[in-house]
Subunit: 410 residues, 4 copies
Amino acid sequence: MNVPNLGTPQFVSPLKNTVRDDIRIPEHIEVGSDSGLHFELAGPRSQLFFDPGNTRAAIVTCGGLCPGLNNVIRSLFLELHYGYAVKEVTGFRGGYSGLDPLKGMEPVTLTPAFVDDIHQKGGTELGSSRGPVDIEVAVRNLMNRKINILFTVGGDGTQRGANALYAEAMRQGYPLSVVGVPKTIDNDIGFVSRTFGYLTAVEEACRVLECAHIEARSVPRGVGLVKLMGRHAGFITAGATIACQDVNFAIIPEVPLRLENFLDALKDRMDRRSHALIAIAEGAGQDLLKADEKIRDASGNIKLKDIGLFLREKIETFFQTAGAPIVMRYFDPSYQIRSRPANSEDGLLCDLFARHAVHAAMAGKTGVVIGFLHDRFIHIPIELLAGRVKRLDPAGQWWRSVLAATGQTV
Amino acid sequence: MNVPNLGTPQFVSPLKNTVRDDIRIPEHIEVGSDSGLHFELAGPRSQLFFDPGNTRAAIVTCGGLCPGLNNVIRSLFLELHYGYAVKEVTGFRGGYSGLDPLKGMEPVTLTPAFVDDIHQKGGTELGSSRGPVDIEVAVRNLMNRKINILFTVGGDGTQRGANALYAEAMRQGYPLSVVGVPKTIDNDIGFVSRTFGYLTAVEEACRVLECAHIEARSVPRGVGLVKLMGRHAGFITAGATIACQDVNFAIIPEVPLRLENFLDALKDRMDRRSHALIAIAEGAGQDLLKADEKIRDASGNIKLKDIGLFLREKIETFFQTAGAPIVMRYFDPSYQIRSRPANSEDGLLCDLFARHAVHAAMAGKTGVVIGFLHDRFIHIPIELLAGRVKRLDPAGQWWRSVLAATGQTV
Amino acid sequence: MNVPNLGTPQFVSPLKNTVRDDIRIPEHIEVGSDSGLHFELAGPRSQLFFDPGNTRAAIVTCGGLCPGLNNVIRSLFLELHYGYAVKEVTGFRGGYSGLDPLKGMEPVTLTPAFVDDIHQKGGTELGSSRGPVDIEVAVRNLMNRKINILFTVGGDGTQRGANALYAEAMRQGYPLSVVGVPKTIDNDIGFVSRTFGYLTAVEEACRVLECAHIEARSVPRGVGLVKLMGRHAGFITAGATIACQDVNFAIIPEVPLRLENFLDALKDRMDRRSHALIAIAEGAGQDLLKADEKIRDASGNIKLKDIGLFLREKIETFFQTAGAPIVMRYFDPSYQIRSRPANSEDGLLCDLFARHAVHAAMAGKTGVVIGFLHDRFIHIPIELLAGRVKRLDPAGQWWRSVLAATGQTV
Amino acid sequence: MNVPNLGTPQFVSPLKNTVRDDIRIPEHIEVGSDSGLHFELAGPRSQLFFDPGNTRAAIVTCGGLCPGLNNVIRSLFLELHYGYAVKEVTGFRGGYSGLDPLKGMEPVTLTPAFVDDIHQKGGTELGSSRGPVDIEVAVRNLMNRKINILFTVGGDGTQRGANALYAEAMRQGYPLSVVGVPKTIDNDIGFVSRTFGYLTAVEEACRVLECAHIEARSVPRGVGLVKLMGRHAGFITAGATIACQDVNFAIIPEVPLRLENFLDALKDRMDRRSHALIAIAEGAGQDLLKADEKIRDASGNIKLKDIGLFLREKIETFFQTAGAPIVMRYFDPSYQIRSRPANSEDGLLCDLFARHAVHAAMAGKTGVVIGFLHDRFIHIPIELLAGRVKRLDPAGQWWRSVLAATGQTV
């Protein structure tokens, strides 16, 4: 599968050990599977589209916080500055709104001093926001600033915007490379087996699950209920459940929540062991909430009703009615998880994502997002992301490990 | 003893709450001070009241969780078992209700294996609960079990109960030593300069404040609001504010919260810096909540209305009304703080508290709580605790450091 | 004040170093004690010696690293800048050598941006070094730069130098306030009950002891030997031993090491349990090393021979000779401990030490070090430090807890 | 590639979502590569070789410590006990020597209580040792104990032994399934893209590198030198270098160390920046040590001379001779790294490795090790491991990131 590109690269790269353009990574690797997509392998190319000394690049970070944003900013800059010696790297502030000169804050010119130790901090030094930008205004601004390359660090909505930016620039005949670095703490983007920030989230989620376990065990009939991130996918909940090994019930969007069965199983557990620990992904059991009215947030995501508070109330009422009240301890640690600095594994992953994004851009790829499939970094045309989401497979090894670790039968 | 100085000071200081030059702190404080109370120094005595080989001791942990409970259980047992070689140590389960044979779970006989690594875990391996026990029933149970010594690990209410247990045993002519180990994560017990668990709480609170700071800085007009523990005293809020150094407004029970002044000051801060971090103790601003009806929890503590949710709503409305809405990030991490294992400083403190409690009991002290004053462990008659609470002094060095660290003027 | 008791104690205690019943700790220690020294209470004074708007202050950090140096620099600056609004604060670089314009690096003018987040980092942003400076040259430099106040953050040697600086300035009729902030990770300075960095060192030492314990237990006949800091005092070794609870032998300078007795006791332990964990302070057992030649390092401290390597060799040989070889795991983590950032308790302590130093200086105190006694900050004339060192009392509660935690009989 | 197996599975598995035997994972997945091996996909099979209710399994852990050993023991037991309900699981103690009834300690019968919280601890609760066992004696012991399945958790040498055990049992006509879980903190086993414990090692290595960086920066002309694990492969050194981002020179076995070039580059760095941080894998530069005599340790590994101490001396001498001495800070943290508990990512990985090992054994696979290739768990015939080792590719993305992160030219 070829990715969009701006034309024939004609400048010799300063880097060694470059990668050929025609190597392909298949979507499915099980032998005999002959269908599916084939992706360009990411990596530095021997010929560049942009002449480094005359190239201006820019970075923008969008959407909710995620551990590793500063690592990505830093490694993008370092590869551009030291690896390719580009002319200038601009940091737009405050997410996409920073691309609009009337709405945004003044962008900052990145320097080695600016990025020095930002990878040790949570959040994003460039700031962020949700919501779109006027595409024409943004492209005009990029053109006025003579920016050749834009790195968009963000989730689904951000990359849809990135695609629109590249298309508009194309339409105006301006060779703008737009390369996305996929950001989703939920780990639910297609063709990316592990997104940066995800493992830090699992680690922090384990820390909270431990606390909830202690709380539940320390009182008579204690129930710990922890709501974790995961709008559409249960990867954080499942990963933390397997790593922590203290959860008794893991509930994820991919597996329907049968409330009555669940409450019966919980009652059985409480009768036998007198305490229980439940982890639930925020996107689980949405059908129970009868979310008739679909409300969208500023990024265009459907707003979820709060399954955590819903389940908390159902559990308390159920045991109250049954004449055997429980002591509920409820945890909603999302903000404390997503604002942490990246752990070392995510630090490593951020560096590799960022540098591959730079290689793609310098070679003139555009409308592309860096993916990570079968332990290889690849080029994914942004358009392909729309139709393909990643979900936890209820028949796969992860869910099997969750069931084994929890012993849950629902 | 005068120290060298350069001459007569002659300029007026801009600071408030200054200290006179002629106050003196003696090197040795054990003797001679003729005002105030004088406490027995804690420590092992040369003569014991109980014959170790014929002595049975018991431990009970009551009330809310606090880092270090397991360390206290462990060191109580080790000192009794290895230090004095007592006959048996019983652990009552589930707080005071465990003293009632009809209500409680079967007690456990403690062993080196039982306590082996419990100090590395949060919570209490003996379980806990709130609420009193029928004093007569409990004393009869202790007498039936031939228990000579009872260690009560808990807060105000627990120690009031301890006093009643000792008084009832006295009345019945049964020589029962009841020795309390003061437990309050809020650090608000009189004659105890630092309670175990407090420093772990400060450390964990700092971790949450860092997250809130990152969140507040990462969005346009972000406000981080963190509700911390402290029903009547602001020690956790003040300690974390000084240690973390990122808080802009610290609000504690000992300093009245003038809502309008606070909101004006917050607006000023937001106009200048566009983000803010607020730490508030749960017991602050209770007058604003018009808590006419005093509700008490199972331990007899007055239930507080939630100042965190109250302030959150006031702030959001204020800025909404002012036409400059903010992005609120609210944190309520109490359960994640109190369930942590003790850090090393608290581990050290727990060990010393516990062993001094054993020394007191073996010498026949009763109706007594272990205190910690001027870096010395002391014996405090439980009755004395009632009239004396510890509060943060708004004219003292800690509040001065808070004001300096935050720059707050309200 | 007597506490209730059950009657006359009549059985002999098996414990040593017991405490009499009639020792009393007064509630208020500020007055009346008629023996010993009396110290000025530290804190802001109503009258200042220096006119803030015309005052220049400077900071220098000397000697080995210690957690919290950056916190002290930061809070000194913030109190001077925001608290008193002094004209300028200079940071000398590279320790005392930075006071010599010919040897040192150019000093830096401190700003809020410079100190912004330095408290989250280990080490010292001003750099450090060992060794003295030419006193006359340094004073001339301070006079040329119109510096009125010098804060010296360092240990014994540093404060001796501070005293010489102040005396020389006096001799020249230049009113220079020199105020020391005592720095010793070993916690061995007189009149300072806890120095900053000490608790962080205990925490990190516990982490290493845990590793050594795991290593020793995981192989047949494993011995973990951990050399900790403590040139003359065993506070880190004792504190970590009590906090960690896994050590079997703690060896400190204040308690003579009888090698044969120790090896016999270790053999007994190995025969019974097959693994052992030993913590030894670097200054312990120096007599065994027959350190005839006293070598001094650049700060003038006597250089110690390495007791850790000595003991390691003795243990290995002993068991080899006995025909029952052990598997030795040796740990020397000093550099990994002292370079850590301050934990929250030390962060709190640093802030208070620093601000009290500023108050002292602004009031015109000089030749003085900030002390911390009975939970009060005090002023100590530097001259007084020379004759008074702090050592762990082998008859006191800490060593008692060490013996109880280890079960060691040597 | 078929793996050895004991015969036709004939028992129906209690598990759902099983995997077919004929799915293959290719060694090389780049499209067009037609050579290479194809591996069986791991996972539960629908038919079992062993009848669970009559099956006895055993576990042995061998060689040096590695984070995650206890997690593996725990998940092996839980899958056998709860997943398949086997009759009994035995834990052999003290490594392979535990298989010899004359040399080893009495094995332990594993229970849910035994494994309860062992995953939170470093080391191995079963103990370990280096060195082989008499194969015939061991197989006879296994036969006497009616053990059908043996899980061998260890490195190269251990798996060679595992193969011998399976072959000997075959020879005796005893259907013994031997399934290995590959253990190498160095991450250098073929067909395993990430071994458990590796990421924990990277995280801990980063912590030490941070300390070394602080030390090097805090003194004039400071050099931090950190020796990390990696006998034959530089994965820990490279991973930590990329994650930490403070290293100036990374030295690994796969890239020859040209001493003169290195020292010149270091001198250049010191002249420019006055401090430097070096990370070196223990197996780097072995040719420089002229290790004529090959000494082997008890596991049969070639003993390496110490490149860390060698390089330390060379650097000190070089700068001494050049008249510009440096201050050296040397770190050798291996024991502090390998004894840590697994972090959450390794916890997750351990669980998956262990459960896949159980699935393989229950289906009658033998002489097989669980691999992890392209994000899939696979079956590797042990014999295949011998000829295939994993090394860091100096032309690949990791080394490229190392060079970019360090800026090193040697």
